[in-house]
């Protein structure tokens, strides 16, 4: 245990995902040795992210306004929606330049063991987006692991009678891997080879 402010910082850092007590201590002492200017830049970034960034009211992606950059772009194809788990997956798919439609960010995958069911995700918000009849294809791009596959199964069943084509990214993506780690070529190929799951 350290005194006051140092221990407070270590405790706060230790609450971040993937940061254990040892890493928290290392980061805290790293910050202590930095110039005030560097630390202030970090402080500003943290304050701004909470003040300015919110979630797009249409797709759930991170946004600086009511709508994210993609939903606000009139050149995006409004006939297809790609469903992903996290905002970082949007970034990964954008990198491939393979997809010109819009996204729907669920905020995770269905994982009962973590207490997360369909109602804890942005599943219900997807339905009104399909009501106008403009959307023709929903591409399910959840992670290629157990939770992601089960979420895809749930979604394709939910969308069975909605009158849209539901597709799933082609296998070939490494199972157990995170979508964000797939390289552009592999992910692009998975997009091209997507198969219909609600035929």
């Amino acid at each position: 245990m350290y005194e006051g402010a140092v221990q407070d910082l270590i405790d706060e850092l230790g609450r971040l995902p993937g940061v254990g007590p040892k890493s928290a201590q290392r980061i805290a002492f790293h910050l202590l040795q930095q110039d005030s200017e560097d630390v202030n830049r970090l402080v500003t970034a943290l304050t701004e992210v909470k003040a300015k960034v919110r979630f797009c009211e249409v797709c759930g992606n991170v946004a600086q306004a009511e709508r994210c950059r993609i939903c606000a772009d009139p050149r995006r194809d409004q006939t297809s929606i790609c469903v992903v788990e996290e905002p970082k997956d949007v970034v990964a798919i954008e990198r491939t330049r393979e997809f010109r439609g819009t996204y729907h960010v669920l905020g995770g995958a269905i994982s009962p063991i973590d207490g997360i069911g369909p109602d804890d995700l942005r599943v219900r918000e997807l339905m009104p987006r399909l009501a106008s009849g403009e959307v023709q294809e929903v591409i399910i791009a959840t992670d290629p692991n157990l939770e992601g596959e089960a979420t895809a199964t749930y979604l394709s069943r939910l969308l069975r009678d909605v009158g849209v084509t539901v597709t799933r990214l082609a296998s070939g993506l490494p199972v157990g891997g995170d979508l964000e780690y797939a390289d552009e070529v592999t992910l692009g190929r998975a997009f091209e080879g997507r198969r219909q799951v609600n035929a």
Partner: protein, 242 residues
Amino acid sequence: MPLYRDEAIVLRTHKLGEADRIITMLTRTRGRVRAVAKGVRRTKSRFGSRLEPGMVIDVQCYEGRNLDTVTQVETLAPYGDAIARDYAAYTCATSMLETALQLTEEHEPQTQQYLLLAGALRSLAEHSHDPGLVLDAYLLRSLAVAGWAPSFVDCARCGATGPHRAFNVQAGGAVCSICRPPGSSAPAPETFALLASLLAGDWEVADASDDRFRRQGNGLVSAFLQWHIERGLRSLRLVERA
């Protein structure tokens, strides 16, 4: 560093750092084990698909002070693949995995629990029976293996020969009219018969049961489970039943 090799069922995984995962598994001979699988979230990993929950594997690890490290994995039965394609089966499977997590201890051999879970996962993957029934049978039997065998025929208190009319979770199941504590319920005789068949593995009776009794039976199994597992099961409310 000491190496070991065992059969195991992957119960749960947690992300660790940038690309690793902590794999919690129930092994056949050395109880529950936690091991790091390095780099499995990267796309080039050889292990990734083999270390998903619900997979039965042949695994080799070396022992560490806090955590073991996975060095080799072969798939014995890829039940997870089939289970993920059936949403009801998936929700039942996750409840079974969570139960196994709660009813087993680290490094305490639990071969019976291992065999029970492997059998139940196979049954879900092969769609042998209604997933909800497979789950209830598994829950009853894993509780029995843990030392909390319920009774659905003879009185759980005095042993008086059944069948009896009353059911009491705290008392351990069926109770006779003398032992019957206040607040006991009175399920249908068919529900008692269904639960007894699930516990005994008499699938002919269980498969032929009516939905009404399945629902009632499932309520009693859940109550029984929540009574014995202190913290309860998070996944139970998300189980999808026919």
